[in-house]
Symmetry: D2
Subunit: 451 residues, 4 copies
Amino acid sequence: MKIEMLPREKVFRDPVHNYIPVRERVILDLINSPEMQRLRRIKQLGVANTVFQGAEHTRFTHSLGVYNIAREICDNFQQDYPTKTPGDGLWDDSERLVTLCAALLHDIGHGAYSHTFEHIFHTDHEAITRQILTDPSTTVNAILRGVSPEFPAQVASVIDHSYPNPQVVQMISSQIDADRMDYLLRDAYHTGTNYGLFDLTRILRVMRPYAGGIAFNPSGMHAVEDYIVSRFQMYQQIYFHPVSRGMEVVLTGILQRAKELYEDGKFTEDEKPRLLLPFFEGKFDLADYLALDDGVMTTYFHYWMKSTDHVLADMSARFLDRRPLKSAQFNHSTAHLLPAMAKIVDEAGFDSRYYTAKNSSYDLPYDQYDPTSATPKTQIEIMERDNTLEELSTLSPLVKAITGKVTGDERFYFPKVMLTSPDSPDFKPEYGKFQRYLAAGSVIDPAIYGK
Amino acid sequence: MKIEMLPREKVFRDPVHNYIPVRERVILDLINSPEMQRLRRIKQLGVANTVFQGAEHTRFTHSLGVYNIAREICDNFQQDYPTKTPGDGLWDDSERLVTLCAALLHDIGHGAYSHTFEHIFHTDHEAITRQILTDPSTTVNAILRGVSPEFPAQVASVIDHSYPNPQVVQMISSQIDADRMDYLLRDAYHTGTNYGLFDLTRILRVMRPYAGGIAFNPSGMHAVEDYIVSRFQMYQQIYFHPVSRGMEVVLTGILQRAKELYEDGKFTEDEKPRLLLPFFEGKFDLADYLALDDGVMTTYFHYWMKSTDHVLADMSARFLDRRPLKSAQFNHSTAHLLPAMAKIVDEAGFDSRYYTAKNSSYDLPYDQYDPTSATPKTQIEIMERDNTLEELSTLSPLVKAITGKVTGDERFYFPKVMLTSPDSPDFKPEYGKFQRYLAAGSVIDPAIYGK
Amino acid sequence: MKIEMLPREKVFRDPVHNYIPVRERVILDLINSPEMQRLRRIKQLGVANTVFQGAEHTRFTHSLGVYNIAREICDNFQQDYPTKTPGDGLWDDSERLVTLCAALLHDIGHGAYSHTFEHIFHTDHEAITRQILTDPSTTVNAILRGVSPEFPAQVASVIDHSYPNPQVVQMISSQIDADRMDYLLRDAYHTGTNYGLFDLTRILRVMRPYAGGIAFNPSGMHAVEDYIVSRFQMYQQIYFHPVSRGMEVVLTGILQRAKELYEDGKFTEDEKPRLLLPFFEGKFDLADYLALDDGVMTTYFHYWMKSTDHVLADMSARFLDRRPLKSAQFNHSTAHLLPAMAKIVDEAGFDSRYYTAKNSSYDLPYDQYDPTSATPKTQIEIMERDNTLEELSTLSPLVKAITGKVTGDERFYFPKVMLTSPDSPDFKPEYGKFQRYLAAGSVIDPAIYGK
Amino acid sequence: MKIEMLPREKVFRDPVHNYIPVRERVILDLINSPEMQRLRRIKQLGVANTVFQGAEHTRFTHSLGVYNIAREICDNFQQDYPTKTPGDGLWDDSERLVTLCAALLHDIGHGAYSHTFEHIFHTDHEAITRQILTDPSTTVNAILRGVSPEFPAQVASVIDHSYPNPQVVQMISSQIDADRMDYLLRDAYHTGTNYGLFDLTRILRVMRPYAGGIAFNPSGMHAVEDYIVSRFQMYQQIYFHPVSRGMEVVLTGILQRAKELYEDGKFTEDEKPRLLLPFFEGKFDLADYLALDDGVMTTYFHYWMKSTDHVLADMSARFLDRRPLKSAQFNHSTAHLLPAMAKIVDEAGFDSRYYTAKNSSYDLPYDQYDPTSATPKTQIEIMERDNTLEELSTLSPLVKAITGKVTGDERFYFPKVMLTSPDSPDFKPEYGKFQRYLAAGSVIDPAIYGK
């Protein structure tokens, strides 16, 4: 493996990490690759800027941030815990480069509005990440191959967790990894909230490698606790915000409708989304995928705003003009009412296939390792002075309170006009009928509450 | 004039101002208008994010910020300096709404990469701003008309400086106005630099209305001084950065080339930029203009990357992949060398009409009022306790140092490959010839310096 | 009641609140009173600066901060919830002044290193606060009397919770009051930690008066939750820090020993602490108390460093030179071992009456109202849109996790030399004997663990 | 020279630098020495907290901050510019320890309210610094001697500029040194102003050693410029504030009067300031000096508040209760009026020897090297790529504007009561007479302006 250093360190100015230094030429070349630059055109938080207006940052700056945190961890490990003999559980700095590359590239396969897009077009950003790394057609692959023929697959294996050294894997992907630490701080910075703040410097100082992966010195227990609490609060406050989800529902409606129109051969020439056609047709290649970004999507929404298909035109305008669907919470005991509500929405003139939706947002903020779980988590370990490990939630009552508990909610989405007040001149009887199913922001059974 | 207040104040979370409150329904409706929402898709600093990666914020958040500063000034004026008798030079709160609307809408006519776009397509964002405000086809106009039939024109007159009350005009547009104060703070926040920081709270506290406009209490002199110095430094450090300008030169090349290809009838069907055609044809209407945003531009660059025209394809890829042209400073004594340099660039295989450019960035950071100037500035006045006015630069040696002095530079742009080292296997003789014209980042005369 | 306004608002620059404005002359006069200025000489966090070096701020700046938060709450209440008819549960702005005065003066009776001092000399800062407010000898009393003859007692009654309006009382003293909100933010700022940060602006925006006191709008639930978690973390991380407590133990030893020497008539003339004598004699008046501050205490420690009494001299030097006692955690099952440990400390040459101590730090971070409790807490209420109240912990799993749970620990303190390593040339057998009682920072039973 | 490293890095939490790491045992021992701990009891900005209330930080935290900046510079130099051959002008890391010690100890000789105290008692904090380092009686000396017998003198020579390597000297003392960089940032943090902010990280990155000392890479020119401007603004805004100086005048009056009373044998037993007597007697030793701190001074002011000497009692109370003298600006053309003004102050019942004073505050924010100057400055050099040096002011118009220009003012101080309004019941004819000499905050000649 040959690692060329830059003649002079290069720095990127970053609002979260201040300066991000780069010393290896491979890293600089990767940053300058078309596949990475493309991430400048994909917002990190999708539609969340429609609620938290400052959230306009992209996956590009996040990716550099993750690289930077991983770099600091490697630097610290090499300074404080360098390996002496193979298998001693300390840090082997020959794994630095694969770590940094994986950190930088971990999101390279993300597309515009990934979650929604994948749902409709059955793409898979994880598979595409692997492809970008390993397919000889990409610049990223060429750069990685320059290190060694096996290097692209090695980097990919870190990202998909199959890399043998758990220290490297956990640095990139675990319950407290460079990815999450960067996005919490960055999303907090750009949304202007302070829920996501925690003491990154301290956490980095107390991380330490051991044979089983990464553990934390006891003096940093509270900083780790604070990180978990911050993460919990960011999900509650930012990532699960009902209004962003109302925008995502609109987006789903647009793509769903467009796909159907295409399949029915109803797109006019003027509506044809040239760069999306491979996806409508279900036969896209990597180059097609890499041509997509947020701007491509909204450009075609401009086209579709003028469609003769009313649903497509209206939904596209709603997205561009930021008019989210409204919502009410429901649960297992009220879910059976949703078909009746959707029917009223139909009666009011909105095709409920597009204008109503169920949307759930759930997260497991922290969990202990559970071998019986579908996706067992690598729990957070505090390493005591005698080198015994204690799982975080046994030490922190705050963390214990949220350990293993799924949080989130389920919401039913519908057009805002359904909430028109009976006092309004635009009121329709269907709206009144619909409103009988709602109280205090939740779906209720009108038969029981007799409104 | 009827002003409807919201039943409950609405707040927007903002990273710069924390919370931005809205109390008037007109303001909320304007924020929600399609013309304003469109600004979410136009970056405030154009291509500057390619240098300062955090600079991904849009004209939308800036516009709300300007509104918010103007709102605070109005609130302060009404609390501390309410008019008692007409013409007493104090604040008349009946001008609050026109002020707030002008603040919010002052950038509404901006387009994607405005500066470059206007240069090629001869659009004029100031004229379009007026049109958006006054043309009955827009939602903004409908909302403003709801206040009174004359209101749209009044708001427009604040923005074009013809409104009678200089207090209102200066709040939106002067050497220390809500617009500049917001963008300095916001650009500093997102670039992660602190050059743009100054004490906004203090400046707002010491502003005061008088018959001639807005003056400042002496206790705030140093805060105002600090603002001027910050502004100077932001121009030097951020706005004039040679690399951003190298991206703008690429952009100019793309649009120029595309326009020529269109005019020569050489666009294939696949290359046709549907939403840009009205501009190529020189006959666009307001709706055409309002359909443009950053994403529309880059979408067509994706199309053009695959053009059979090599210049268009290459320049488009340079833009998307962030490969700016490089530059060297020149001045009046070296400007005559540029044609020779351009010729060498041609010889090296790059059409110098697109691959070379002169680019100047100049700014006048602060000036006194000069009636003989082409654009006389409203100077900054400190109002002493005896109500006499003193112009800022007479009190501040720092401000005096930069008053009336144009700062900036002129640069000559060319492809980076021209700088290839003679040691490189890819070196060509033309590169060597070209490099004889360069020393220490500036253009020199090889005949004199004899390299 | 006559309230004179200042001709021009006066502002105090503050690192936490930026600008603190004062409009009422009474407030300005109180700030300028000798009793308030004295608080500039008393550190807010006592000895905590010996651990968190930036914690050098005083009770003076905190007091202005509490005033400022109370002022903002009053301003918000008056703007959004002004009373219309007596008894409507809304805000009556005629209570503004009593609120502001109580906020400003709530800590006026605090002395130097209050906690320890009170313990030894049986002073009571709450009683002294009342006395400073109501005794005609003080400047504070004269200023308050200028408002009305009853005003001093009214302000005092807010501070001791007997004031009739619960809105006023809760603003100054409750589980989420101006006092705590200021000290969490201020202590976080000066210690340089971010545990204490929460969204003050948001909390102030969602506070609202009701007949039973103060409640919070549901949109601020998460901000309130975040405040409770911050408070919990500050206690864990800052206020309970074992090293600060080790300095407090030293302080207790000094004062205890000095008192005994005085009572035994063993103070030489050179050691006599003129300003402390009234306290040694147990007959001090208010003027004596007001002459005490941090500097007075340490000045006499300088005297005592040269005492012929070895304990007094040594302990005084330990305090001035920052040499805290060390500690180990103990609990109910190991408490019985402490006498044996103290005995070994005696054998090693340290009088265990001064050189050992038990120290507990406990806090109840949040609790629901419990009428059977000794000190029932005013619980935090979220007011739903239908005006029903819900107690915070029923809505927040994080808060529920810490509700009603006392947190803290008990520690046994002893001289650091007892931990000398057996490898050291200065090792003594007593140290070894002592160390058998310790493992991993806790007291253990050597009979059981057989070390 | 033997340098023992700590088994594990120790960190100090600091609000300005976040974490300050210590790796050498010598540094930790010095921090823990009584002479350093004493600096915890001496405020960095003396009386400035009476104007900027947050400015309660001490010389101790500043000293650690200077150490930390010097440490970062050494780390950077060793990484980027390690010497290869003696005399190559690069960094020789064997000078790290002497640099760090000098940085940490540079202020060790400062006393309480140094400036005023030195003026009255003819102490010299620079001489005392040298003594603390080199006198065998101190703990600091013992620790330094532990490194090598010559080490104490070496550290002292860095502080007094006689150390041979200019890199080391300039790091601690030059126009842009660790000392100034820390105090600007720290004073800005604690006063809550942002004038003192500059980009420390960037400046540290562009510093580089050369044979003549320390230079800066051109890419950091603007950061250095920003530092100079910040420094200029902090002097104008904070350090020269007229009200702080009014407190210093009070302090001078107290000490002057007390000294005279002592010399006249008029101190009663109750007034005797035991720890100050050696200074009154003019024969103090190092131990006497080290027993002084802010608290000792104010303790004796408590004593003196009750003096039968009215001047001493009144001035002491003014200091403790924060009642500064007021002031007016004067200049060379009005200086001749001051005796007449002082005479009126005498007539009004205030002994003008104590109750009036002239006070000048001057600073030279930046200057070029001038061999003819009394104290030639080491100018700031930008090292171009070809290794030529350019002096900062030739590159920066902002710096040029303030280069070589002394800024500041001269003020005449007097009791506030002299400004009593003629409308007041407490008005006296002397006040009116006095006020004829004042206009708009300046001294004027009533004979000319004829008020």
